[in-house]
């Protein structure tokens, strides 16, 4: 499309103010976009740190403890979240700092038009980056929820401590206060009259502690 330039209507003082405002806004546009993108980058980074920190507070942190296929679902969500986070980070950094590449001056002419085009591109990258970020957070939250509240891979086991010796495994039977437990090393009995603690655990490996 070609553009034709013709004399316009007689100018008034309002046209002067309008043109001055437009020029001022254009001059501030790219630095304002960069500042806004930097602020969004910092704010969203802090939000992501808070979400990850909250995810580590309690609950399972190992998806291998989840029953199938929930472990696959959780793993897939975490992978999707990681991809979304990487895309969001690249877009937000592009919006805040520009593209780390040299420009060919045969095709790009630095100036007012370039500054406005760069501001529009940066704003587009910022908007897309924010959407990708929220996709990352949503994936992360759902993955943590599945990991926390998904069904366990194994049935609950019983840990009984007599003196300083804990015995952990699946309950086989109970006869005259004597508990029969199937441990990883074989079947054994525990006299409940001498037991000091008794608790149900998700897994004997994790309940053993350091």
């Amino acid at each position: 499309m070609s553009l034709q330039v013709q004399p316009g209507p007689p100018a008034k003082a309002s046209h002067l103010v309008q043109a001055q405002d437009r020029d001022r806004a254009l001059e501030q546009e790219l630095p304002a976009v960069r500042t806004a993108a930097t602020a969004w980058r910092n704010g969203l980074g802090a939000l992501l740190a808070a979400v990850v920190g909250f995810g580590l507070i309690k609950g399972r942190s190992d998806i291998s403890q989840l029953a199938s296929p929930w472990n696959v679902v959780s793993g897939g969500l975490l992978l999707g979240s990681l991809v979304c986070g990487a895309v969001a980070a690249i877009l937000l950094l592009r919006a805040a700092h520009g593209v780390p590449a040299l420009q060919n001056l045969r095709s790009t002419r630095p100036g007012a038009t370039w500054a406005h085009t760069e501001a529009v591109s940066s704003m587009h990258a910022l908007r897309c980056g924010v959407w990708w970020f929220f996709g990352c957070v949503a994936g992360l939250v759902v993955a943590v929820a599945v990991t926390w509240y998904g069904p366990a891979a194994t049935t609950a086991q019983l840990s009984v401590t007599v003196g300083n010796t804990p015995t952990c495994g699946d309950v086989v039977g109970l006869t005259n206060d004597v508990l029969t437990i199937k441990t990883s090393t074989g079947q054994t009995t525990v006299d409940l009259a001498q037991a000091t603690t008794m608790r149900i655990v998700d897994s004997c490996e994790t309940s053993a502690g350091p």
Partner: protein, 128 residues
């Protein structure tokens, strides 16, 4: 935002700098500018007008954007969920208020102003 165009002679530059700042308009300004300014379309319906000021004759570039990020005037947050308003301007006629944007130090110019003070209107029409 303006850029001085290359090729301007030293005489033109010194004549431009010696001209005092004065906010003024004249019907001739529009006619002169229409004959010297060349309009081209950049991305996103942004129009770039390159030519010389009809008063001080300094070369300059004027950008007419269709969309712009306005710092501190971003409106409500729901604007974030809206797509950019990119109403096509092809074939439309638009009035463009212009001011001189030359960076030459015109005597008497306030600090927050640019150019020599000349202002005028141009009409830009797209032809497919």
């Amino acid at each position: 935002m303006a850029q001085e165009q290359p090729g301007a002679s030293d005489d033109t530059a010194s004549a431009c700098e010696s001209m005092p700042y004065h906010e003024t308009t004249d019907r001739v300004f529009g006619q002169h500018a229409a004959s010297t300014f060349v309009a081209s379309e950049a991305t996103d319906d942004t129009i770039s007008l390159v030519g010389s000021c009809p008063r001080c004759l300094a070369g300059m570039e004027v950008v007419i954007p269709s969309v712009m990020f306005l710092a501190n005037r971003t409106g409500r947050l729901r604007g974030f969920f809206k797509k950019d308003d990119k109403t096509p301007t092809a074939g439309k006629e638009q009035n463009v208020p212009m001011i001189c944007l030359c960076p030459a130090p015109h005597p008497g110019r306030p600090q927050d102003r640019k150019g020599c003070g000349a202002y005028w209107n141009l009409t830009v029409k797209g032809q497919t």
